[in-house]
């Protein structure tokens, strides 16, 4: 059974189709990256899955429960970190986590130990008695993660968990998410491709309220991989001349400059591996770099979302 199952989900705000027939399945234990440009429908989907918004039509289940009919039971089984977690400024982190523990019916000793454990996990023991009102964005985000985990949820929804953080804060939050692998299902929405590449096992790409593709990350990269090589050298003019000559070869499909190097897209990888480097050496070029390009999620994303926006 899926941890999250969505079928033909639609959410209309007047004439705006925030979700337009979205389908999604997330297997238990997965760290799922919900990827899409701003306004694609990621936050709307998470708001529906957490019971904050109602769909116009369609089916949405989390942990086997219908989000519309079983809201009360569902709230005990999910954790949610909104994009900008909001707190009561007059509370301290310790009081806040204790209060959440009460809401989930934890006993006094459970609350104490869980609060201590989570404050340690998000490295906030030293500020546990300070008022939240004076916290930075990064501290709030970390406290939000702790708050989402207080009751050991089966499914954790994270909305842009690291998008507004500085590099240190981002690393901390992503490390936290990585540590959750295997403990619960994580659905993380983001528009930052590097974050998804780093922590997610499965990726779903959404645009204009529809799922364009959903697949394990490596499969996705392979499926959409364009075989290519990059060559970089000191003598740019000689390199450009040599690269232009390559266009005549039957196994070359395209040659394009890219970030000071040349990307050579091929249709026959074996021929390219056999001949390309030899051709460069025979031309007398001094190479700084020669590599078979590993496709990135950015390439896949741009291919898919670019196509979608043209369509």
């Amino acid at each position: 059974m899926s941890s999250v199952h969505i079928e033909n989900l639609k959410k209309y705000y007047g004439t705006v189709h925030a979700l337009d027939g979205l389908d999604l399945d997330v297997a238990p234990g997965t760290v799922f990256g919900f990827l899409g440009p701003n306004g694609a429908g990621k936050t709307t989907t998470l708001r529906i899955l957490t019971g904050l918004a109602r769909p116009t039509s369609g089916k949405a289940q989390v942990a086997g429960l219908d989000v519309l009919k079983d809201g009360r039971r569902l709230s005990r089984r999910i954790g949610h970190l909104p994009e900008e977690p909001a707190f009561y400024p007059w509370m301290t982190p310790r009081e806040f986590l204790d209060y959440l523990g009460r809401l989930y019916g934890l006993s006094s000793s459970e609350r104490n130990s869980r609060t201590r454990e989570l404050l340690g996990l998000v490295r906030m023991e030293d500020v546990s008695r300070r008022r939240i009102g004076g916290f930075s964005r990064g501290m709030r985000q970390r406290l939000g993660v702790a708050a989402a985990l207080i009751h050991r949820p089966e499914v954790l929804f994270l909305d842009e968990p690291a998008s507004a953080l500085d590099p240190v804060g981002r690393k901390e939050v992503l490390d936290l998410i990585e540590n959750l692998r295997g403990q619960c299902t994580v659905v993380m929405s983001t528009h930052i491709l590097a974050d998804v590449e780093r922590v997610c096992d499965v990726v779903g790409i959404i645009a204009k309220g529809r799922m364009l593709v959903q697949s394990p990350r490596e499969e996705l990269l392979e499926r959409y991989a364009v075989p290519a090589f990059e060559v970089e050298g000191d003598d740019r003019a000689a390199l450009a001349h040599w690269a232009e000559d390559l266009r005549r070869l039957p196994w070359v499909t395209a040659v394009a400059p890219r970030n000071g190097a040349f990307r050579i897209t091929v249709r026959d990888v074996q021929s390219a591996k056999r001949e390309l480097l030899a051709l460069a050496v025979n031309s007398g070029l001094t190479l700084n770099r020669y590599e078979e390009v590993r496709p990135s999620l950015e390439d896949v994303f741009l291919q898919l979302v670019g196509t979608e926006s043209v369509a």
Binding site: A86, F87, W90, L100, G105, A147
Partner: protein, 253 residues
């Protein structure tokens, strides 16, 4: 179970954000000052040089009735104003700040979210009104004569009912509104509407404001009643809370 957990948090919030302190201080000040003002207003007038003796003669010697009338006047104005000010932001501000969305994905029903806020405000206003009543009773005892406990208790109960009417309407306004400005506007529309209609002859007998004159009459030993106004006031409180719960349940936060 969760009701008590959330109520506990709401009470702590009343304390930490100084709301309890503000309401208690204002109520106590007006409770204490009512008999003082009644007693010393003529004295103060006498001390102002140049006040015509005819005007001073027009002021009869202050009595306990003046102290009670002053108390009711203060509570009916500042009590209601404070009830509106303390209530109209409680829901809409949480929607604006995002705390409502953060907590409504937890095992907290929307009804609990609203009703615990109302319950905490009731507790704050009951405690503050009790302080005001004790202050008024004590100074009236010192400056005039002891007040009859029974009718004075009923008078304060009736004042509380009127305050709750405005508090419930302000909570409804705060629930309906998407911004603080709209909530303020709606709350003051309710104040003007109920106050305005309540001032009309005959129709006014069925409005919450009538409870003040019922309370004063009781203190004076009269046997006038206003059960219709009492019932309608409770009806307004119940209706406002039920509508607020229904609206909030359907609202996307």
């Amino acid at each position: 179970m969760n009701f008590m957990a959330v109520f506990r948090k709401e009470m702590l919030e009343q304390w930490r954000t100084y709301r309890f302190l503000i309401v208690a201080a204002v109520f106590t000040a007006f409770g204490l000052s009512s008999p003082l003002l009644a007693k010393f207003t003529p004295e103060m007038l006498k001390s102002i040089p140049g006040v015509p003796t005819e005007l001073l003669a027009a002021f009869p010697a202050p009595t306990v009735t003046d102290a009670i009338t002053q108390y009711v006047k203060n509570m009916s104005q500042f009590g209601i104003l404070l009830a509106l000010l303390m209530t109209m932001g409680v829901v809409v501000q949480e929607k604006e700040r995002g705390t409502a969305a953060f907590f409504l994905t937890r095992p907290v029903s929307r009804e609990t979210f609203l009703l615990t806020k109302f319950a905490a405000l009731i507790a704050t206003f009951i405690a503050s009104l009790a302080l005001a009543a004790v202050g008024c009773w004590y100074y009236t005892l010192v400056l005039f004569e002891p007040l009859a406990w029974g009718p004075f208790l009923v008078l304060n109960g009736l004042i509380l009912v009127v305050i709750l009417v405005y508090m419930a309407l302000a909570l409804l306004a705060s629930t309906i509104a998407r911004s603080n400005g709209v909530a303020v506007g709606l709350a003051f529309v309710a104040l003007i509407l109920i106050g305005g209609l309540g001032a009309l002859p005959r129709i006014g007998d069925y409005f919450p404001g009538r409870l003040f004159s019922w309370g004063v009459t009781l203190m004076m030993g009269g046997n006038d009643t206003a059960w219709w106004a009492f019932g309608i006031s409770l009806g307004i409180i119940a209706a406002a809370l039920i509508i607020a719960c229904i609206v909030f349940r359907r609202q996307e936060v």
